[in-house]
């Protein structure tokens, strides 16, 4: 899937996003719906910050013992009649799933929402092998019929207006009357529900992701609002859980802590509608449920992250709070990031998964305002991790020549404090003098990136260091 990444063209993507008025209107929703609601429910729970600490500590403990918890988890899944498959790469995961689908000659596969399925490019792969994947989460269904990637990890179709969705439904649902009314979100949802209900009942295999895996009981957990994940995993003959190794937590008590921070951070709900714990296939006497239960555990670069400075990123529970609160994401939306994971979490994760050579722009697309870290339910120091990537990029000589030259020029002075103080003092006086009475510049050499859009203010008074010395 990394071959389809447009992350190397981040700047062009961002320019296009800023000029897209429909997208800009859709992004306004972030402030009211996500940021406001999260604050409301977080403020209502006095223990919220203590729960975030607990969630961080549980993940740290699990990651430090990941090999042992995986062994315990696998043992419990197998004891309940389930199967565990290890996929080192995205290609391995695709091949394992194809083999399971072929074992029952699957024609239709329903899918619950799974970012891992996006990461491994599962839909295109299954389609290429004559199996029809049907996304059943409403947002995922909409972007599937548009052949797009999700623009947000929990609200995949956030970038679209209802008019755009209506146009897509008319284009795809050709079996329905052409003159039907599709003005309101209610009618759009009702149409999708009816179309997808048939698919749920016809599917041979259902594939879901997992929000958590529980070592204690060999359980996979999905958290949804629509109920699509439950229909996906209950009705077909086979349930496949496609997930990754860092989703593991030790016990049900640990799950409790995560349930308390996940929905609040993600959608601003006290609790999502459906939290479903699945342990193995249909048991004797069960009147419904899948006959086979498979878990595909993806690594795809994660075990390598365990050993380095990006281990903390593996705590991520994919709530989306970091992107909701990010001024860069708010301005350009998710598609500009060019791959599966957008926003601050994507800026850290994407270079780990597809390479800093392709994704180097992403950790640079940050103002380091720190809001992402402030709201992260597992307290991932996202700005620090983005800075690590910038350092790596510089060390590997991947940053542009002008940036490197500028940094070297600055570093020359920064390492000579007296010279630095003198030079900045002179520069500040010169700029103040040159700007005259207006106190700002329409144009400055080497600063067109700034002055093309707005005036550059001239320094006033002494430099910061000079003022600091006087205190």
């Amino acid at each position: 899937m990394s071959e389809t990444a447009t992350s190397p063209h981040f700047k062009e993507n961002a320019h296009a996003a800023l000029a897209d008025s429909e997208l800009q209107r859709s992004l306004e929703i972030l402030e009211t719906n996500f940021i406001g609601r999260r604050k409301l429910v977080a403020d209502k729970l006095p223990e919220f910050d203590a729960l975030r600490d607990a969630a961080r500590d549980i993940k740290n403990h699990t990651l430090a013992h990941l090999d042992l918890y995986l062994e315990e988890y696998e043992r419990r899944v197998v004891a309940q009649g389930g199967h565990v498959h290890y996929a080192v790469t995205a290609a391995d995961a695709r091949a394992i799933i194809l083999e399971i689908c072929r074992s029952v000659n699957a024609k239709i596969v329903t899918k619950g929402k799974s970012m891992i399925a996006e990461e491994v490019g599962l839909d295109d792969f299954l389609t290429a092998h004559s199996i029809t994947p049907i996304e059943t989460d409403l947002g995922e269904y909409i972007i599937q019929i548009r052949h797009e990637m999700p623009s947000h990890i929990i609200a995949p179709a956030l970038h679209l207006s209802k008019a755009q969705v209506a146009a897509d439904f008319r284009r795809v649902h050709t079996q329905l009357p052409a003159d039907r009314n599709l003005e309101e979100p209610q009618t759009l949802l009702a149409e999708a529900r009816a179309v997808l209900r048939e698919k749920f009942l016809a599917a041979d295999v259902g594939i879901t992701g997992a929000n958590f895996l529980v070592a204690e009981t060999g359980t996979s957990i999905i958290v949804t609002n629509e109920g699509n994940g439950d229909l996906t995993q209950t009705l077909p003959k086979i349930h496949i859980v496609l997930t990754s190794i860092e989703k593991l937590v030790p016990t049900l008590e640990d799950v409790s802590e995560f349930l308390r921070v996940l929905a609040r951070s993600a959608t601003g709900q006290e609790m999502s509608v459906y939290t479903t714990l699945s342990t193995g296939p249909r048991r004797s006497g069960d009147p419904d449920g899948p006959r086979e239960y498979h878990v595909v555990l993806l690594d795809n670069g994660r075990s390598a992250m365990l050993g380095g400075e990006f281990r903390e990123m593996l705590r991520c529970i994919r709530c989306g709070a970091c992107m909701n609160h990010c001024p860069v994401y708010q301005a350009i939306g998710g598609h500009a990031y060019g791959w599966v994971y957008p926003g601050p979490m994507g800026a850290v994760l994407t270079p780990s998964l597809i390479g800093i050579d392709k994704a180097g722009n992403l950790p640079n697309a940050s103002t380091f305002c720190g809001r992402c870290e402030e709201v992260c339910p597992v307290r991932i120091p996202l700005p620090k991790l983005m800075r690590f990537w910038r350092e790596r990029e510089f060390e590997r000589h991947l940053s542009p020549a002008t940036v490197r030259a500028g940094l070297s020029f600055w570093a020359f002075f920064a390492r000579r404090p007296r010279l630095y103080g003198f030079a900045t003092d002179v520069a500040a006086r010169m700029l103040a003098l040159m700007s005259g009475a207006r106190g700002r510049f329409h144009w400055l050499p080497l600063a067109r990136g700034w002055t093309d859009q707005r005036d550059f203010p001239a320094p006033q008074g002494a430099t910061f260091q000079a003022q600091w010395r006087k205190r």
Partner: protein
């Protein structure tokens, strides 16, 4: 994969202290931070649960055991639904005095998507968030929780716990250490989606209505 995880962690997987730490945690399953919210005297805890269900757009009534069939019929009439109901083989549901509602047609089994209303009996509930906890089994088909448009859930007032941890402890007591039923459904309100312009609409793929009957 284990080799690369272990090499990244700088371990070989045979270290006794690490193994002990993992074994201890799985055996003792220590309780972490538990919000005070649900820790109330029984009557207030039930009220909190009912309030939280309502906040999640579910509806709630209270009824004594002999009046549960009547409460179900009333719900169906209020929404102009046929007096027809699907239920699982659950003994607690079977024992209800259905004969008191002669016009109510009750069938037993899973749902194939053609039923408009179903009733389940909850394993337990959590006051903290207004969450119902349903355990699958021969007597409780999972399809009843998702396919019919109207899902009615009966929960005993004494089974409404303060927090998630209490319900998990009760699951362990019933099913055994390190065991769970095939599916545990934690349900908080009716199905919904906000995927189109973030407009919240009830009844996405699961039930449009969730009606809870608290049984005294």
């Amino acid at each position: 994969m284990f080799a690369s995880i272990r090499s990244a962690l700088g371990v070989n997987g045979r270290e006794a202290p690490r193994r002990k730490e993992v074994a201890d945690r799985l055996r003792e399953h220590p309780t972490g931070v538990v919000p005070a919210r649900g820790h109330l005297p029984p009557a207030e805890r039930v009220t909190l649960f009912a309030d939280m269900v309502a906040a999640a757009a579910g509806t709630v009534t209270r009824a004594s055991v002999e009046n549960v069939p009547g409460a179900i019929a009333e719900f169906l009439r209020r929404h102009n639904l046929p007096l027809s109901l699907r239920r699982g083989d659950d003994a607690r549901l079977a024992a209800l005095p259905w004969e008191r509602e002669r016009t109510l047609e009750v069938t037993v089994g899973p749902s194939d998507g053609r039923q408009l209303a179903s009733v389940s009996h909850a394993f337990g509930a959590v006051a903290e968030t207004g969450t119902l906890v349903l355990a699958s089994g021969s007597d409780n088909p999972t399809t009843l929780n998702f396919l019919p448009d109207n899902h009615i859930v009966v929960v005993d007032a004494k089974d409404i716990a303060a927090d998630f941890e209490s319900v998990f402890a009760k699951l362990r007591a019933r099913y055994g250490e390190r065991q769970l039923p095939r599916v545990v459904n934690m349900i908080t309100g009716p199905s919904r989606s906000a995927d189109i312009e973030q407009t919240l609409i009830l009844g996405a793929h699961g039930p449009r209505r969730l009606h809870v009957i608290i049984c005294n």
